[in-house]
Point group: C2
């Protein structure tokens, strides 16, 4: 696969996901911005403002150029000409019973012959529903299963643990949500060949719609109290904390003069901080906090 073929597929993934979200909303809720990067390449940012998805984005980009030696060394490479392409999605729903979702698929290569894929999907429910978390992880496990070697379940287990460790608010000792899968630097060592890696990444990208559609359509019309909306604001502020303090992609983008508005499309529409907020013991909110731990085996949790 050439980098252009990979990039074209990502672009078509952006289109098909946007098409689907438009259908849920019943109208066009995207604002598209085309942008160009001084050093080479650019992107197609699509911001959402809808009645189901309060704020979010489905962003595609393909950038290339000379990699500053500082950055090259930081990621363990010699200075090079690089090419990076991918799709990034974050959706903050209106209804607090619809979870926040994040998906990313990406490809990177250099003129020195290095290449890898990365990405993942993870879910951040404002209220954790054990059955939904179970189904979510089941679907991710199914995607991974196809690409497993002799030891079944190995890839899911590895990428699930990776997500647990990555989407973690160290300063809160909380996971961001119920995790999902996360992977980086997938190359020949991971799947034997570039096209196998790409197939896996395509499967992850294609899993987004069936996974989120069910969560959206099942929950978007549930009635909720003002307290549930308040709780959503508080959980969103944790999302902000993760993305601005710990997320390597966000930090890297802001540090290297990326397109700020595209990087920060992950920020929620409205978020709230309250000093030392502790939910009432036994409440749904307290139960959710109780689930924000690494290592929960959601596939078998009952």
């Amino acid at each position: 696969m050439s980098k252009e073929e990979i990039s074209d597929w990502f672009k078509s993934l952006q289109d098909s996901i946007c098409e689907e979200v438009r259908e849920w909303e019943g109208k066009d809720i995207f604002t598209q911005d085309l942008w160009f990067r001084e050093g080479g390449g650019g992107g197609r940012s699509r911001a959402i403002q809808g009645e189901i998805i309060e704020k979010g984005g489905v962003n595609y980009s393909a950038v290339h150029g000379e990699m500053p030696s500082k950055i090259a060394h930081a990621i363990g490479l010699e200075p090079n000409e690089f090419y990076a392409t991918g799709v990034s999605i974050v959706m903050h729903p209106v209804n607090p019973y619809v979870p926040i979702i994040h998906m990313n698929v990406r490809y990177f290569e250099t003129d020195k012959g290095d290449w890898w894929f990365g990405g993942g999907i993870d879910l951040t429910p404002h209220y954790i529903n054990v059955d939904e978390a179970n189904v979510f992880h089941q679907k991710l496990s199914d995607v991974c299963q196809v690409f497993d070697g002799k030891t079944k379940g190995e890839k899911y287990a590895e990428y699930k643990q990776w997500a647990d460790n990555y989407f973690y608010l160290k300063h809160r000792k909380e996971t961001r949500g119920v995790g999902g899968i996360f992977f980086d630097r997938l190359n020949e060592k991971s799947f034997g060949a570039q096209n196998k890696c790409f197939q896996f990444v395509q499967s992850v990208g294609q899993a987004f719609v069936p996974i989120y559609k069910e969560l959206v359509l099942n929950n978007k019309d549930r009635s909720y109290s003002a307290e549930a909306k308040e709780w959503q604001y508080l959980r969103r502020s944790r999302y902000v904390e993760f993305n601005l303090v710990w997320d390597r992609g966000t930090k890297f983008g802001l540090d290297t003069d990326g397109r700020t508005e595209s990087i920060l499309m992950s920020m929620p529409p409205m978020a709230k901080w309250e000093y030392n907020h502790i939910p009432e013991p036994g409440s749904e909110e307290a139960k959710t906090i109780g689930y924000l731990k690494k290592g929960i085996d959601w596939l078998n949790y009952k």
Copy 2:
């Protein structure tokens, strides 16, 4: 001065500032938390939830213990026993015409004989009022003037520039607000003696009340539109971005297992992100954005 005398003075500064804020509010709006640090020392956090100050805190702490060699090297010291004490304040007012304020005074020493003071005051108006910015900087200049050497205005100019450079959102190419003064590692080289440095830091601490009182009392009862409140939410999200992405104190605290709720008392009560929000040309909001630049000579700006 011993470290205990300095720390005691900081504690009394916390008391006197809280006393004053209570007076504006007409009632007690503080929640006090005493906390203890595993390695040594602790603090007295006072969170505000009031009718004038929507959210904020006046925090005092004095911590000590062994400094991890990683941190020692990062700040250019040999491993040591350290002592660090200070007062930190952030206030997010209800009324969008009252600016957000931040003040910090701190002292640090090691058993190897190193010591320094640091701190500053800076102002983040949701709507920049040139006259108020002028008066604010005039008062800071007056504080610095007393401690100036032969070249009058030198210290203010130095610390003002330091604040411009420090309170800067690189990814937005915006200053956080109208700046103020910022200084770090003040030691014998700065003022000739420890007690001279301390006198300066005391003057900065004592400047907080007269500076902010006027801004609060003049503006707290001004009427404002729903649009102005919206604008306040948007400006607060920039405050979040600065503190979580760029503020060294916040990052250091979160990275080294500090008390999260005390560190994040700087977060606003409610903040909002909107994709690519650009105020209408010529509006008050657009004028404010126009002032968010380094190097404005607020003392002489007309």
